[in-house]
């Protein structure tokens, strides 16, 4: 029997949409934030250097929000994702 995948939505900020063919939202294989990010990079490999260091860690300034909460205040990359969860990549606030 084929395992049912836990799919979530990852919202892409404007500055990164040039790497997702203009897509504002990407459906990712969820389960946890880590697996969602792996799924995102598998679909759009050009995003990787923007989000991950050469050592493979999420870059420190990358903020991912689940609802109102930064995952850094939850369980980090191990934060579980439910079927209807929307994960949002937040850009820094530029200029003025």
């Amino acid at each position: 029997m084929r395992e049912r995948l836990n799919m979530s939505i990852l919202k892409i900020p404007t500055p990164l949409r040039s790497y997702t063919n203009g897509q504002a939202e990407v459906t990712v294989n969820g389960g946890t934030v880590a697996s969602a990010m792996t799924s995102l990079i598998e679909q759009y490999p050009a995003l990787k250097p923007h989000l991950f260091s050469e050592g493979g860690d999420l870059r420190a300034f990358v903020n991912l929000f689940l609802g109102e909460h930064n995952i850094k205040d939850l369980q980090g990359l191990e934060t579980p994702l439910g079927e209807s969860d929307r994960l949002i990549l937040i850009p820094s606030i530029a200029g003025g």
Partner: protein
């Protein structure tokens, strides 16, 4: 003595201007230990005739360099009647400009409305609310450009309620630096500044200070600095190729442009705190990276940059400040 004889000891305090008379005239601080550290590392030693200085803009009453353009924009709008008849000042902001508008708005009696991404740090939003500003939170995934578009729309829909200050397109922004930051740097360096390095946000600091310095010192080198990628962690700085271009920005103005990686700015921000006692914001770290890069290429010269604000508004980013060692990844 009677109260009629009352006189403040500090004759510079202007009873009519209050806070406004204390904007600008910030200290010019030398960077000493972060440059020595590089020399000991062997890679980028600075010759003794090369100096680096930073304008300590958190000494402004509103806590950042933005006091200069905010005050000039408000004063110009009052002078020509755009403000003062009950309209609210409306603009988009990443935080500091909003705090400066709200500070002087409260002092002068001008109501202020600000469009700001909902992802702004809690310190910034709390400060703005404390100062009585009306806040309109915009979609965080749209970043600053989303806030700009929201402010434009609000102004268009309610022309009788709002006066749109438009810091990105208002010439009073860069003119504030032409009138204050530039002359201060010229005077504080005895006219010997050779290189001016400024980060790009609205570009007002670069354009105004740079224009003044270039008029007084035709050989001065003007260098712009911006993030190295569209998605970055340098709050307050703009990656121009991927953002809405400010109307006051002239891309051809700076003689050269440097790109700074977020991790390098974070590491330098920590070093400035721990090696210079300068608890500054992330964009100051980026400015120091750029200034050191310029200085490392010189045999002699006086490099001046701007440290826009202090670190208080970024304290909620605990991972940055509590890092035991610099976090750079090379």
């Amino acid at each position: 003595m009677t109260l009629l004889d009352f006189q403040l000891a500090d004759s510079k305090t202007n009873l009519l201007d209050g806070l406004a008379s204390h904007a600008g005239n910030t200290p010019l601080l030398p960077l000493r230990r972060v440059t020595l550290r590089q020399a000991q590392g062997g890679a980028l030693g600075l010759p003794p005739r090369v100096k680096i200085f930073a304008k300590a803009e958190w000494f402004n009453p509103g806590g950042s360099v933005k006091d200069r353009p905010a005050l000039n924009i408000i004063q110009n709008a009052l002078a020509n009647g755009d403000l003062g008849s009950g309209k609210r000042l409306l603009d988009s902001t990443s935080g500091n400009m909003g705090i400066s508008y709200a500070t002087f708005g409260a002092a002068i009696g001008i109501p202020v409305t600000l469009a700001i991404p909902a992802s702004a740090s809690p310190e910034r939003l709390t400060l703005l609310r404390a100062l009585g500003a009306e806040i309109i939170l915009t979609d965080p995934s749209e970043g600053s450009d989303g806030a700009i578009l929201a402010a434009r729309q609000l102004a268009e829909d309610n022309p009788d309620l709002y006066w749109y200050a438009n810091q990105y397109g208002n010439p009073a922004n860069w003119q504030a630096h032409y009138l204050s930051t530039g002359p201060e740097i010229f005077a504080q360096t005895n006219g010997q500044v050779t290189h001016f390095v400024a980060g790009l946000g609205t570009s007002g600091t670069l354009m105004g200070t740079g224009r003044y310095l270039r008029e007084r010192l035709p050989n001065v080198k003007i260098i712009s600095m911006q993030p190295d990628a569209a998605f970055h962690g340098l709050e307050g700085l703009k990656h121009m190729p991927s953002a809405i271009r400010p109307g006051i920005y002239d891309e051809s103005f700076a003689g050269s442009n440097l790109e700074v990686r977020t991790e390098a700015a974070h590491e330098m921000t920590l070093r400035l705190a721990r090696e210079e006692g300068l608890f500054v914001g992330i964009s100051s770290g980026a400015a120091a990276v750029a200034a050191l890069e310029i200085a490392s290429q010189l045999d002699e010269g006086v490099v001046v940059t701007i440290f826009p604000d202090a670190g208080y508004k970024y304290l909620s980013d605990k991972a940055l400040w509590e890092s035991p060692l610099p976090k750079g990844e090379g």
